[in-house]
């Protein structure tokens, strides 16, 4: 932490380079398969790094993070599909509405601590999912199908999908930048104080309830926008796909893998996890046991490398702590 200018931080440049690489490599090579791979990587990085604001920065384990993604997708697609607006305002509306909802919800459930909070977030995800399944304006159980003509407004399917991809990559860059900026801000300092000892933080003057609600709302914004883009690209949104609790838990696994509380570590963790799952899935050797392999790996990390990859790096090369955040 401290007060160094953000532009002077190596991490900032790493983020910028990574974002550019994500955007440019598939664009210049025209490799659509690479694009699809990177897209999922970017989505997972978005999910994990925003979740990191809650878990890694504030030590509040949120299992319901995926609800933001799903709800964002629904609201965005509603705006595009039913109201017939263009994609960009839809993204913004989804982000703002979901953030507001999160802020209000947070005021209630953030009074809970530890395992109780974690349980409550599971409940939130399930309640939202069950509600949306019955909510007719969102298509209820049938979900919403995007007309292919919606792509035409953005210059045809091919063009629209590229745009959606670039937008998601930009969101990924924004997520990481936001993580870095918060880490180096007064706000972030307050969050870290809450993470270490909420009571002590309160006694030091950190307005903990407001800080927690704020970070909860912030951690909802980008995932909600990403949800709109992802399901726009997907062409269809269904309750089961939008509120998949497993994905929430996987996002936690990703940030553990990389090292909770770090910026780059979490991104690496998410990317590595996504690639690994993808590899296991298409590999002829592992595809049947991909879940088992992933489970064993997770267990080994929890038992023997609880501080994650970055934690391990810091332990062996403490100097890097200030270079790669």
């Amino acid at each position: 932490m401290g007060s160094q200018v953000i532009l002077k931080r190596p991490t900032f440049w790493i983020i910028l380079l990574a974002t550019l690489a994500f955007a440019l490599v598939p664009a210049l090579t025209g490799n659509l398969e690479l694009r699809e791979n990177l897209l999922l990587g970017a989505v997972y990085i978005i999910l994990a790094s925003n979740l990191n604001l809650m878990i890694g920065y504030t030590a509040y384990v949120n299992f319901g993070n995926i609800a933001f993604f799903g709800l964002g997708g629904y609201i965005g697609l509603y705006v595009v599909n039913v109201l017939g607006w263009s994609l960009w305002p839809a993204c913004l509306i989804a982000g703002v509405v979901v953030s507001l909802l999160a802020f209000i919800l947070g005021t209630g459930i953030l009074r809970l601590r530890g395992a109780y909070f974690a349980l409550a977030t599971i409940g939130v995800n399930e309640a939202v999912k069950a509600f949306v399944t019955n909510f007719e304006p969102f298509g209820g159980a049938s979900g919403m199908y995007l007309s292919f003509s919606s792509f035409n407004a953005l210059g045809g399917a091919r063009h629209a999908l590229w745009l959606a991809y670039f937008a998601i990559v930009v969101l990924m860059g924004l997520s990481l930048w936001l993580s870095l900026a918060i880490k180096n801000s007064r706000f972030g300092l307050g969050l870290f104080a809450i993470r270490e000892d909420e009571d002590a933080a309160m006694v030091l003057g950190v307005r903990t309830p407001r800080y927690k609600s704020l970070v909860y709302a912030i951690s909802a914004f980008i995932p909600a926008v990403a949800g709109t883009l992802f399901f726009f690209k997907n062409g269809v949104i269904l309750p089961d796909q939008a509120f998949d609790l497993t994905l929430s838990i996987e996002a936690i696994v990703m940030l553990m893998l990389g090292g909770q509380g770090t910026v780059i570590g979490v991104a690496l963790g998410a990317f590595a996890y996504e690639q690994l799952r993808g590899f296991l899935l298409v590999s002829s050797t592992f595809s049947q046991f991909q879940l088992v392999v992933a489970g064993v790996l997770l267990l080994l990390i929890v038992l023997f490398l609880p501080e994650g990859f970055m934690g391990w790096v810091y332990r062996h090369l403490p100097r890097l702590r200030r270079v790669i955040e």
């Binding site: 459930i109 349980l119 409940g123 399930e126 069950a130 019955n134 936690i252 696994v253 088992v292 392999v293």
Partner: protein
């Protein structure tokens, strides 16, 4: 209408007893070692498939199958504890959540490879016990399952309150450091409690499998219901869990005549969050039998 409601209430109580038993496994582990067991659902599913194997391969009576499943569940639970959980006891909530989730992934992964995710059915019926009135029927299997659930819960209660081991478990739950000073090997008590929690969950799986077809993924549904139940009954309290289970069963039964049943999960989980926020100690506020 009145028969409708009566039938729904009875159905709710009977199913609720089984929810309660399933939740006891979860709440016991939470109460003793403050671990939210995310392999709970997978354990229930394992119980279901154990029943399937014991009845089809061994030809055991489905209700007698509970005994070997309880024993096997216990051994399995103790093993899992030493391998996956012990190292992370006492570290952050996140660690124990993830450790048990990892085991969950492994079980589901192996289960999927062995049994696929398609449903299995164990053909059990006890027609002589079925009760019919005005067109509403309570199947015999449901009555037997509920009774067995209550018996198992009572046995567990007896174990906790009237045996040396049970008292040691409660002592560890209450004050682990003091328990150690009394000469209790708390590490083993934790392992045994985990074993019991797993065994009870697997036993609940057996009972559920006598009622409904199931897949390796079915447990997840009961895991979520168990969360609701333990929150209703108060986290960490076995007696509360049984009551919470019945309350949940009743909620499901009693709301049905009035709203479309597809809204039931909305009601359940909204209630769950609200109760958790307003009454973190549980609506029924029992704690190890404290009134």
């Amino acid at each position: 209408m009145i028969f409708d409601l009566t039938a729904s209430v009875i159905n709710g109580v009977l199913v609720g007893a089984i929810y309660g038993l399933a939740a006891i496994g979860l709440t016991l582990i939470f109460g003793v070692m403050n671990v939210i067991n995310l392999m709970h659902g997978a354990t229930i599913a394992l119980g279901m498939f154990s029943l399937y194997l014991l009845t089809t391969a061994v030809g055991l009576n489905p209700y007698l199958a509970i005994v070997p499943v309880l024993l096997g569940g216990f051994v399995f639970g103790v093993l899992v504890y030493w391998i996956a959980v012990h190292r992370v006891i006492g570290s952050s909530d996140l660690m124990t959540l993830l450790a048990t989730f990892a085991v969950n992934m492994i079980i589901i992964g192996v289960g999927t490879a062995v049994w696929t995710t398609s449903p299995y059915n164990v053909d059990v019926s006890v027609p002589q016990l079925a009760i019919s009135m005005h067109g509403y029927t309570i199947p015999g299997t449901q009555i037997v399952a509920a009774v067995l659930a209550v018996i198992l819960a009572t046995l567990l209660y007896g174990l906790l309150y009237h045996t040396r081991l049970g008292k040691a478990i409660r002592a560890v739950a209450n004050n682990r450091a003091a328990a150690e000073l009394m000469g209790i090997n708390t590490r083993w008590v934790l392992a045994i409690s985990f074993g019991i929690g797993i065994a009870v969950a697997a036993g609940a799986g057996v009972l559920i499998a006598t009622l409904f077809p199931f897949t390796i993924l079915s447990g997840a549904n009961y895991e979520l219901k168990s969360f609701v139940v333990v929150v209703l009954g108060g986290l960490g309290d076995p007696a509360g869990a049984m009551l919470g289970g019945i309350v949940l069963g009743l909620i499901e039964g009693v709301t049905a005549p009035f709203v479309n049943v597809s809204w039931t999960p909305v009601i359940e989980f909204t209630l769950f969050v609200i109760i958790l926020v307003l009454f973190p100690a549980g609506l029924l506020a029992f704690k190890w039998g404290r009134k």
